[in-house]
Point group: C2
């Protein structure tokens, strides 16, 4: 897509206000114009590092006056092209807004700037007895996680960002600064602007501060790993666990190829077969009871090698291996990139969805690992491609389209936690229907009439009227 160059008057204003925190250099623009996925980079015209609400508002106002797009940027760990600049404009880097503003231990909430990462928040919580549970693989910023409605391994117990953002400070398209939500645990006071912003990927406003829920660190945490003869028996174990209402904190599936990658990458000796990783949170008796219930289910389903890990160092090694799965898989094919998929289906359809997907995988030449947060019905394919290889990209696109269409046909979603960005726009109408997408467009037009906040993301181009 071609677009007008950055107006020199705007460049001068930004340079005047931000000095060295405004850059038009190639390396900075390249860093801010690409993400972790296969999307080819699309560079912004400049990068501003903002350090407070007023600076964010200033950038938005200056850019609005010149009709120039603004693209919020955290650490660039998203995977659907969210931070790319298909219409040019200014990448607004919020990683310098990284102050933990308040920790209310008694109320179980914290207020942070949007550039605080999840690990930074958990470091700040040390000694408080509390933790923040949402953990996408990367050490993403909380602003970015809110923008994509992220989740991760703990969501089956603690929910997603939608459930854990209580309040925001948000800069609107006209530069006004808005507060949404509040610190009460529930409210029926007016439209839920907080949850409209969570998942809006920077297209309705730029979240600059968040108040998030915290949770007491469980008295006892134990972990377990169990190998299964096939994917289906593992998935049936998950389904029964969820249906029994066992309050498991994490329940993750990895396929044989993922385990092979992990063993190589993490020097582990796990069985290279379909495997479930579990974590149990509770009182010592409660966590043990959960584990026993799940072990009984796994036994019935043919699970073997049910191994416990209650010592913190064993748990950490186990879960580090799980968290490294993505990077481990990337090493299966040196120099490759990942073509991400992220479907989520009602759990009753999960086994069927994975089986059909594995049948597709058997038909292509590229390596594809499968793992995911199956307690939610969410799984990823790590489709390993050389982006320069058209044949591989075509196979990846075919697999991706097949799994998305299958998930939608099963009343699921094209994205459980990554977001739409550029990559999944083409499925938005298939998933939600034309009317809902029209309403999304109306909301976008109401809040960003000039289409300058992260333009081109989420919403597919409008329909051409039928003749």
């Amino acid at each position: 897509m071609t677009h007008a160059p950055l107006p020199e008057e705007l460049a001068g204003q930004l340079a005047g206000h931000f000095g060295r925190r405004f850059s038009r250099g190639e390396s900075s623009r390249l860093q801010h114009g690409r993400d972790e996925s296969v999307h080819p980079p699309q560079l912004p015209d400049g990068v501003v590092h903002a350090e407070n609400n007023d600076e964010v508002a200033l950038v938005v106002r200056l850019c609005a006056a010149h009709g120039v797009p603004v693209i919020p940027y955290g650490v660039g760990s998203s995977v659907e092209g969210h931070v790319l600049a298909p219409c040019g404009g200014i990448s607004l880097d919020l990683s310098g807004m990284n102050r933990v503003l308040a920790i209310h231990a008694e109320d179980g909430d914290a207020t942070v700037e949007a550039g605080v990462t999840r690990k930074q928040l958990n470091d700040a919580l040390k000694g408080s007895g509390l933790f923040f549970p949402i953990d996408p693989g990367a050490d993403a910023t909380l602003g970015g996680m809110a923008a994509t409605r992220a989740s991760g391994t703990n969501a089956v117990r603690y929910g997603t960002m939608k459930d854990n953002v209580l309040a925001t400070t948000t800069v609107l398209a006209d530069g006004r600064i808005m507060k949404t939500g509040g610190r009460a645990r529930k409210s029926s006071a007016g439209y839920d602007l907080t949850r409209l912003l969570v998942g809006s990927e920077g297209t309705l406003g730029i979240m600059t501060e968040l108040t998030v829920k915290l949770y007491p660190i469980p008295e006892a945490i134990s972990a377990a790993v169990c190998t299964f003869p096939d994917i289906d028996s593992a998935v049936q174990t998950v389904i029964q666990t969820i249906q029994l209402g066992v309050p498991v904190a994490r329940i993750e599936l990895l396929d044989a190829l993922s385990l092979k990658a992990i063993n190589t990458f993490s020097k582990t000796t796990l069985a290279e077969a379909p495997t479930l990783f579990f974590e149990f949170h509770g009182s010592p008796a409660g966590a043990e009871e959960q584990a026993q219930t799940v072990q009984a289910i796994a036994d019935e389903m043919g699970g073997t090698h049910f191994q416990w890990a209650t010592r913190p160092e064993d748990r950490s090694r186990l879960w580090q291996a799980r968290h490294d799965a993505y990077f481990a898989c990337l090493q299966l094919k040196p120099g490759c990139r990942c073509f991400p998929t992220d479907v989520c289906v009602p759990i009753s359809r999960l086994a069927e969805c994975i089986a059909a997907t594995n049948a597709d995988i058997a038909q292509v030449s590229i390596p594809i690992a499968l793992f995911g947060h199956v307690g939610d019905g969410n799984f990823h394919l790590v489709v390993l491609v050389d982006p320069a290889n058209d044949q591989e990209m075509a196979e990846a696109a075919w697999i991706s389209q097949r799994v998305v269409e299958r998930a939608i046909a099963m009343e699921g979603t094209c994205t459980g936690e990554h977001g739409i960005g550029l990559g999944k726009r083409k499925y938005l109408v298939a998933e939600h229907g034309e009317v809902a997408v029209d309403v999304m467009r109306a909301l976008k037009a109401a809040l960003d009439p000039a289409n300058l906040l992260n333009p081109g993301k989420i919403l597919p181009p409008a329909r051409v009227a039928a003749d």
Copy 2:
């Protein structure tokens, strides 16, 4: 407010389509033009009983063509004037849309028409091993509960309607039928229209079908009741319970006057002192462990008469008494109405908020009972007034304003679960700020440009521009 009479052409169209299900009779209009609160009735010009999505869409389209408002109606159990007709128009009664459309036991969700009540849904779930936990006092419709973002006694464990509505079918202001959300447990696919609609009180669209989450009936349920020397020690028990992360299912505070009312109404012999009601859900061992932990906290805080109830009939009697508290309080002053309050504050401020409120209560002549869902920081005053008595109404208004302003000053909300309706509009700006309320107005204008969906609710009249 005066408004134009119902156009005869529209009346003829409605009569033609709906026959006896369209009424302009006084009794039907009166029934649909008042609610459970002190708001003086404001009658619609007519009532239509719709039985399916297409009929709802038809009413909306016909009314839109004549510029006539449409006010959705369930069973009229709301308390902030939500169903009143300050601008006239058609009350659209959805109580006939009462089919349970699907129960997906494996996935833990059900799809219902908006007129299904919470008790009806739980009756339909009998034998499935599942239940729907959200329980405002009244046997409200699920559509009405979604519209007001309702909760109740179980919210501390199971969340509110915001957390439990997965998907909707919604009729828009132009009569189009929209699907929002889906049956996947999580999704990052586009703007969260479902949560924008939940709590929008019929002003953005009319929800006609809902998919809601269900939960496994716990293996063990036990209840307990405990008396305290004063409100503060009861509240401190709540705070410690929550901060320890005890997954208590219900934790309810009632003051001495509420207990007196309950004893009279329910023929119980509970101590007439500040009291906590608890319910514990889990495995037998887990529920017992929770109860023991809470009993230890209560003991430390000076709680006495910690009584258990594990037999279903004892639990039922106890909780029936709690559920009857509102009606029991109404009997304290025959012929009175309730002026409702519904604040919710961060739990660290709860004891202080209640203490200051009790100091206010000591200054007025009218009887005021206090109880609430204190695990969430939410409590109600049952302010008993004769609506025809100006002095009593003035005292009630003073108490209400004081408690709301106090809650907002404590970073809380003017309404935890009742909604804004007509009664709390004046506090919306104080709670959210002018910018957020302007954004709410922009959303309303985008989705209902002619202001015909439940006009006059939620949004305060727009500011007059300063000179």
